[in-house]
């Protein structure tokens, strides 16, 4: 299992469109992937879960991946978030 703490950088946080981008990214991997914010841990392949995080700009979230492709999965997810989902 690998994990990483990241900060949401895009000014509007993980609203609907970024949530859709997250699940599109994680769906490509076999590993079990989660995102945790405070006490709430959600399946990063479920848009309903990701939307429940309601992570605004500046929110600190923990990404965890467990499985054969866990390193690649974590890198890919962290990259999408670091890129601010292509927004400003």
């Amino acid at each position: 299992m690998v994990e990483r703490l990241v900060t949401v950088r895009n000014s509007h946080g993980i609203h609907a469109r970024p949530a859709a981008q997250i699940v599109k990214t994680t769906a490509k991997f076999a590993s079990h992937i989660t995102i945790t914010r405070d006490d709430l841990e959600v399946n990063a392949k479920s848009i309903m879960g990701v939307m429940m995080l309601a992570a605004e700009c500046g929110a600190e979230i923990v990404l965890r991946a467990d499985g054969a492709d866990e390193t690649e999965a974590l890198d890919a997810l962290a990259a999408v978030i670091a890129a601010g989902f292509g927004e400003q």
Partner: protein
């Protein structure tokens, strides 16, 4: 079918024009789900039925998204991607399958899970979650419709040139994205008033519309022939042959009148007693700039900027806003363009984190929201300062109730200019800053505001709403929304006087100015600059050319002293009819 008598329905005229077409009913509401239990041996087939329905709903949404992308753009249609991801959510589908495994039908299981999910999101303390309820409702309706074998109501399937009359309860954001003018000829809604979003949108697009029909969706079937009269505010369902030929005659008469008005468009806006007025156009959406620029208007009296944020998945960037503003400014080639800063509340913003309010018109919106979100506001101000190099731009602040709001806005405007200067970006720092006068507070302190601003613009719809405490979006109150109420007339008179004392231009930019009797009253009150919908410019010009300011002033003085709104209207109507019969 042929034996049925025609059915007349009365609503509110929202956008002029007469159209004969086939009704396209869009029932976008959660269908009733029958309760039924299935035997164990039927469970595998039921699970497969769910999978097939989810696949079909996704295919349908992909198609809707592609069509919307072509008419509305990629950024706007991204919302359909979100809905697709919800349908493909394995955790959500897992909960539905669990219930099917217990003997529930696929539709009952899906309905139960979606009701729970929607409630969970709707009750969240977090606005980002609450904002998604609309998408979950769309998914709920779409998948259930497939499972129950109900027809697809999306207007996207209409062929080009279908000349369809869209009939729906209200225009939702995802429905608005599907409005393709090549197949939809007119709109009719149960909800709405003359000034609600759907009415303004219809006028912008030049689509005839009737709103406030209350229950039209329950009385019309798809395919019914309908005469929609957006000028009179009526729908005639299944008309007789005689009624069809009457509609045809009226439609031709309207076209003739439009042709006559087109000749007036180039004339000067000068009254019968030689007083020159300034007549400008309102611009709500980018696609009406062309109509506005050729309408005979002397510039833009009100460019609304809400289209940049409402119904979107994210806030527009500075560059995107700069392009939008520049397009309008360039189209008017040096003529004045008054641009109003965002007049929205937290519920309309694509960025979350704001509570839903029980009373949004008295809530956190317009200048209040902008001052509390300085980065969001400064992005707009920088875009405006940059676009201003292309022409004569003026910035207008909505919903001002106090001088400090003007001072804070000016501080942010100056800060924005300094930021652009530091970045070495071309801009103009000397833009005139004005305020909307749309609250009794602004009228009563207009002298203090006058010392701080370059112009006043009276927003009649909100001034009426805030003065009379009548919600302008409430169809049940439509008859109580009386712009000719003596209280409103007196507030406008006072604003005009304060403006004159301070040498400020006072304009009126509400929908009110486009009705002849309103234009007559405003001119009588001393207003010399009017801004109306592009399609109304020529008609108002014709009114202006037919009246004397002295007669209007005398009539409106009596209207101000009238005891009731009805008495005020009667005084003005009599005087206007007299004028127009003498100066045809």
């Amino acid at each position: 079918m042929g034996a049925r008598a025609s059915l007349p329905l009365n609503g509110i005229p929202a956008s002029p024009g007469i159209v004969v077409g086939a009704a396209h009913l869009l029932r976008w509401e959660v269908p009733e789900v029958p309760t039924r239990v299935i035997p164990d041996e039927a469970i595998p087939a039921e699970l497969e039925r769910l999978n097939a329905a989810l696949r079909k709903a996704v295919e349908r949404l992909q198609y809707v998204r592609e069509r919307a992308e072509r008419t509305a753009g990629a950024a706007e249609s991204a919302i359909f991607d979100v809905q697709i991801s919800v349908i493909q959510d394995e955790e959500l589908a897992g909960r539905v399958r669990l219930m099917i495994g217990q003997g529930f039908t696929a539709e009952r299981a899906f309905d139960t899970v979606m009701v729970e999910s929607r409630e969970h999101f709707a009750r969240s303390a977090n606005a980002m979650m609450r904002e998604r309820v609309g998408d979950l409702t769309d998914v709920h309706i779409r998948v259930l419709s497939v499972l129950l074998g109900l027809p697809d109501y999306d207007p996207v399937d209409l062929p080009k040139g279908a000349n369809a009359i869209l009939i729906t309860h209200d225009l939702t954001p995802s429905l608005t994205l599907q409005l393709d003018r090549e197949c939809i000829a007119a709109i009719a809604t149960d909800a709405g008033t003359r000034t609600s979003h759907v009415a303004i949108l219809a006028r912008s697009l030049g689509l005839p519309a009737v709103v406030g029909l209350l229950d039209a969706t329950t009385r019309i079937e798809t395919g019914d022939r309908v005469i929609l009269d957006g000028t009179a505010g009526t729908l005639l369902v299944r008309p007789t042959t005689a009624e069809l030929s009457q509609a045809d005659a009226r439609s031709r008469a309207e076209a003739l009148q439009r042709a006559q008005l087109a000749k007036v468009a180039g004339a000067e806006a000068i009254t019968a007693d030689g007083v020159r007025l300034t007549l400008r156009a309102n611009v709500d959406l980018p696609d009406e700039v062309g109509t506005a620029a050729t309408s005979g208007a002397d510039g833009v009296g009100l460019m609304r900027t809400e289209f940049l944020v409402v119904g979107r998945a994210s806030m527009p960037t500075e560059d995107e806003q700069y392009e939008s503003y520049s397009n309008v400014i360039r189209a008017f080639d040096g003529r004045p363009v008054v641009i109003r800063t965002f007049d929205v509340g937290g519920d309309k913003l694509p960025v979350g984190g704001y509570p839903h309010e029980p009373n949004p018109f008295l809530g956190w919106r317009a200048i209040r929201m902008c001052l509390d979100e300085p980065e969001l506001f400064k992005t707009q101000l920088r875009a405006l300062l940059r676009a201003a190099v292309h022409g004569d731009v003026r910035i207008m602040l909505p919903l001002v109730v106090s001088v400090d709001e003007v001072r804070q806005a000016r501080f942010l405007l100056e800060e924005s200019a300094r930021e652009l200067a530091a970045r070495g970006i071309a801009h103009r720092a000397d833009i005139p800053l004005g305020v909307m006068i749309e609250t009794p507070a602004a009228v009563l302190t207009a002298d203090a505001l006058a010392a701080e601003v370059a112009f006043f613009s009276i927003g009649t719809n909100d001034l009426v709403q805030y003065t009379l405490a009548v919600d302008r979006g409430n169809a049940s109150l439509a008859s109580r929304f009386t712009p000719l109420h003596p209280a409103v007339l007196r507030l406008i008179r006072r604003t005009v006087r304060v403006g004159a004392d301070h040498g400020l231009d006072v304009s009126v930019c509400g929908e009110m100015a486009s009705e002849p009797i309103m234009a007559f009253a405003l001119i009588g009150l001393g207003v010399r600059t009017l801004s109306v919908a592009p399609l109304s410019v020529a008609a108002v010009k014709q009114i202006i050319r037919g009246i004397h300011t002295s007669v209007a002033a005398e009539a409106v003085t009596r209207a101000c002293d009238a005891g009731t709104p009805a008495a005020a209207e009667a005084v003005l109507r009599a005087a206007l009819e007299q004028e127009l019969s003498e100066n045809p």
